[in-house]
């Protein structure tokens, strides 16, 4: 059956408004989305994450727009008919459409993951810290981060629960351990040199915290009892905020830290300063 004039209703405002509502969601959604992005990138692997997100933005943005415009169109058309124009599609057509959609999503979703996503994921998680990597330990607790450098010997000294004291020794460093003597312990401020791999060893004393550096595209939960490590390369000098991304109590929102990416020379001098203040 084709649409003929007598199957149309006279113009009415409501369908136009409803169609406009859905259509403009599609249109303004995309326009709004184009102007938005994550904090300015500051790490090497983060470029891969951003590529993944760009790919998803483009593909889903296109589907989002098409879908809403189609709805708007069908609402306009359908509201003006007095008789339906199509009843049933043939089973063959229905099946073919589903297969086409399945293939489309397999390509867009699985394909994107396999081609762009998982290589980045693997590279990030399989990264072995190279010998010139800077190692730093970050210990979360309600509601601050303790930061420890191993010092000249490159090894972390022993810690002991009995020695823990939130004011003077939050991680319970045992200074009688010879390896611990040159350890540098500090709060909430992390210094790393630019363009060199950083290995962050994470621990938690109490709750689950999450080590989140939005600019560096790093997020790692720190579950008590586990000692996860992340390895990444900061690519831009600057001070970047560290936020806790896992609910850890009433002060979760103020568990803020600062990740200073500095030149090699500055890094050395900052560590010397911190060492002298131990």
């Amino acid at each position: 059956m084709s649409e003929t004039r007598d199957t149309r209703l006279p113009f009415s405002l409501e369908p136009v408004l409803v169609g406009l509502l859905f259509g403009s969601i599609g249109l303004f959604g995309v326009i709004y989305g184009i102007g938005e992005w994550a904090p300015e990138l500051a790490s090497r692997h983060g470029a891969g994450i951003d590529t993944m997100m760009t790919y998803l933005m483009v593909t889903t943005g296109a589907m989002f727009l098409t879908g809403h415009l189609a709805m708007a169109l069908f609402i306009w058309q359908g509201s003006r008919r007095t008789r339906i124009s199509h009843r049933l599609a043939s089973p063959r057509f229905e099946k073919r459409l589903s297969i086409a959609l399945g293939v489309l999503m397999a390509v867009v979703a699985e394909g994107g993951v396999v081609a762009i996503g998982l290589p980045v994921w693997n590279e990030y998680f399989m990264a072995e810290a190279p010998p010139d990597a800077v190692t730093v330990e970050v210990v979360g607790q309600q509601f601050f981060w303790s930061v420890r450098y191993p010092g000249a010997d490159g090894e972390f000294g022993a810690t002991d629960i009995q020695l823990m004291d939130d004011v003077v020794n939050p991680i319970g460093l045992d200074r009688s351990d010879p390896v611990a003597v040159d350890d540098i312990v500090w709060l909430n401020e992390i210094y790393v040199p630019v363009n060199r791999p950083v290995r962050v060893v994470l621990r938690s004393k109490d709750m689950i915290h999450s080590f989140f550096l939005p600019h560096l595209r790093v997020k790692q939960d720190v579950i008590p009892g586990m000692v996860p490590e992340v390895v990444f390369v900061p690519t831009r000098e600057g001070t970047f905020e560290l936020a806790c991304a896992e609910l850890c109590g009433l002060g979760h929102y103020r568990m803020q830290g600062f990740f200073h990416v500095v030149s090699d020379a500055e890094f050395t001098s900052q560590l010397e300063r911190l060492a002298s203040e131990q």
Binding site: I49, G67, H68, M71, R81, H86, D206, P224, G225
Partner: protein, 583 residues
């Protein structure tokens, strides 16, 4: 059926075993809980919109939560936790899943009642009990649970971790265990009823999509929920009996070394999400099923691709059991496991896309009437698509590294279990109100409610996706100390203002609902000219639904504009001589 003696008011309306009364009891309980959850959302948005403001009125109302007029951070996270818990488990689960499930399943399969009416009544009373227990936790020392609706230990396990982890958290766990017991009972009932009580001629492939969706949701609930009961009991043991199922050695909380040993917080996450992920489908499938049945009634043509929709629902059900780890990509579990969960999660988008696109295709070529149930159904379709696109980001482990636990997730799940289910619930309420109460709701106020609900809802949660992209973490009491989030302050205030419009629109609904209960236009048996069995009986249907003989079913539920007849529709009971049988 002999109706010889009147069972009396109490047996008829309160301790009733009639599935329709029980369904309405669930719906009313759920709506009240939804109101509570909504008011909690207002408190959340007030805090996020104006983080430094002082509220004397709120201090007067809740002196413990607002010392000297400022919201206490511990109160904030209690409110967030209870908002999520109430909305997921006590609003949507009760109204949409148990409420409409109870009401519709026997009517639409052509049965006089549920398979086990007494069990059905018991499941409602358990449900009410669990809601009351949950609400009681606001009153105890330390306040309500504050570890998030996901209740991750150690936060939820150790009383000194946060005030809400005192008695409040124990009550939360007990309430959840009761809830699951109740949900298991009603799930059994739904499965048994659909399997064994279908009217003659009602084959599985003639069931309306609504029934298919309840069927799959009930099976998912039966398979996925019990592990959380076990987990809740184990967590109670950790809390009160000194066991260490979820707690490792070496914990030092508030300066005190604790003596737990050998447990793993990660175990809880697996058990929780083994329930949690299927749970989100338990909630959304009924909404999708209902939309699949409401749309044809307002386009006067069959749903597009019925069979494939059924297969999609089944596929989604199966896949939803094996993707729970996508909530834990950055938890520290093995990266190989992460790869598996990414690939599995992406698979689920295939049947979901088929179902969603088929809903849009169902609009094509129809003769559309934009009545209120249809408007809300259209809203559900749009949100389902948009939420699915967000799912593509989150199910992709690589993108999720940035987006996990930010407002992107908050936007995503509000589109899905917040939005699709809310819009589906309203579609169902407007659609079946005449059947339930014998009166119609007011269309004009219904449309006002639609405009006041959908547009603001979309703006708020669409915007939150992009706040998350900027790295705004969820469950934060305030953001004003973070320099990189300075730009979000204005957006947060604006979203809070829009939420106030959204909330105001819900009062239009409440007034319309209550007014229509008593004063609405009397409704005929089939005001929407729909095909399913409940519309062949009076509004409201009598006790026993179909009188002495069960209806004989001759066709599927989508015989709109049947071929070669001048008719507009043929009910499922119409014989082969009335109209050609499509399926």
């Amino acid at each position: 059926m002999s109706e010889a003696h009147d069972p009396g008011f109490v047996r008829r309306y309160i301790f009733s075993t009639d599935h329709k009364i029980i369904g309405i009891q669930y719906i009313l309980t759920g709506l009240v809980m939804g109101l509570v959850g909504g008011l909690l959302a207002v408190l959340i948005r007030i805090q996020l919109g104006w983080p430094t403001a002082q509220w004397e009125l709120l201090e007067t109302l809740m002196p413990r939560g607002y010392p000297s007029g400022f919201m206490a951070p511990e109160f904030y996270i209690s409110v967030v936790t209870m908002h999520g818990t109430i909305m997921v488990f006590f609003f949507i689960s009760y109204v949409l899943v148990s409420g409409f499930g109870n009401y519709l399943v026997p009517l639409q399969v052509g049965a006089k009642d549920m398979a086990y009416p007494l069990l059905n009544m018991l499941s409602y009373w358990f449900a009410l009990l669990s809601a009351v227990v949950m609400m009681a936790s606001f009153l105890v020392e330390g306040g309500a649970a504050a570890a998030g609706w996901t209740a991750y230990p150690p936060l939820s396990a150790i009383a000194s971790a946060v005030p809400g982890s005192g008695l409040g958290q124990s009550i939360w766990l007990v309430s959840m265990a009761i809830f699951i017991a109740s949900f298991t009972m009603s799930g059994l009932n739904v499965v048994a009823t659909i399997f064994t009580m279908r009217a003659p001629g009602m084959t599985m492939m003639r069931l309306p999509l609504t029934i298919w969706s309840y069927f799959i949701a009930a099976i998912l609930g039966l398979l996925a929920f019990p592990p959380l009961t076990a987990a809740a009991v184990l967590l109670l043991f950790d809390r009160h009996l000194g066991t260490s199922f979820f707690l490792p050695s070496g914990l030092v909380v508030a300066g005190q070394p604790l003596s737990f040993q050998g447990g793993s917080p990660l175990l809880w996450q697996h058990l929780f999400w083994f329930l949690g992920h299927p749970e989100v489908y338990v909630l959304i499938l009924p909404a999708l099923g209902i939309v699949g049945d409401v749309v044809p009634a307002f386009t006067r043509k069959p749903v597009f691709g019925y069979r494939l929709n059924v297969y999609s629902l089944i596929a989604v059900g199966v896949l939803s059991m094996v993707v729970w780890g996508h909530h834990m990509f950055v938890s520290g579990m093995s990266p190989f496991t992460g790869e598996y969960f990414t690939l599995a999660t992406m698979l689920i988008t295939i049947p979901m896309t088929v179902y969603g696109v088929n809903l849009v295709a169902s609009l094509f070529g129809g003769r559309m009437r934009l009545a209120t149930p249809m408007l809300f159904s259209l809203a559900a379709v749009a949100l389902f698509g948009s939420g699915g696109f967000g799912g593509l980001f989150l199910g992709n482990a690589t993108a999720d590294m940035q987006l996990h636990d930010t407002y992107f997730v908050v936007g995503h799940f509000h589109f899905m279990i917040g939005g699709v289910t809310l819009m589906g619930t309203f579609a169902a309420l407007y659609f079946w109100f005449p059947k339930m109460f014998g009166r119609s709701m007011h269309e004009g106020f219904g449309k006002l409610h639609f405009w006041g609900t959908f547009a603001p809802f979309f703006m708020v949660f669409f915007g939150q996706h992009f706040l998350g992209l900027q790295g705004m973490p969820r469950r934060y009491y305030a953001f004003n100390t973070y320099e990189y989030l300075e730009g979000t302050a204005g957006q947060n205030t604006m979203l809070s203002v829009i939420v106030m419009v959204l909330v105001a629109a819900q009062f239009v609904f409440m007034v319309n609902f209550l007014w229509s209960l008593f004063k609405g236009q009397p409704a005929e048996a089939n005001p929407w000219a729909a095909t399913t069995l409940e519309w062949t009986v009076a509004s409201p249907p009598p006790h026993g639904n179909f009188g002495d003989t069960l209806p004989a079913v001759h066709r599927w539920a989508y015989e709109y504009s049947p071929e070669s007849t001048g008719e507009d529709f043929a009910p499922q009971t119409a014989g082969p001589n009335d109209a050609p049988i499509t399926a």
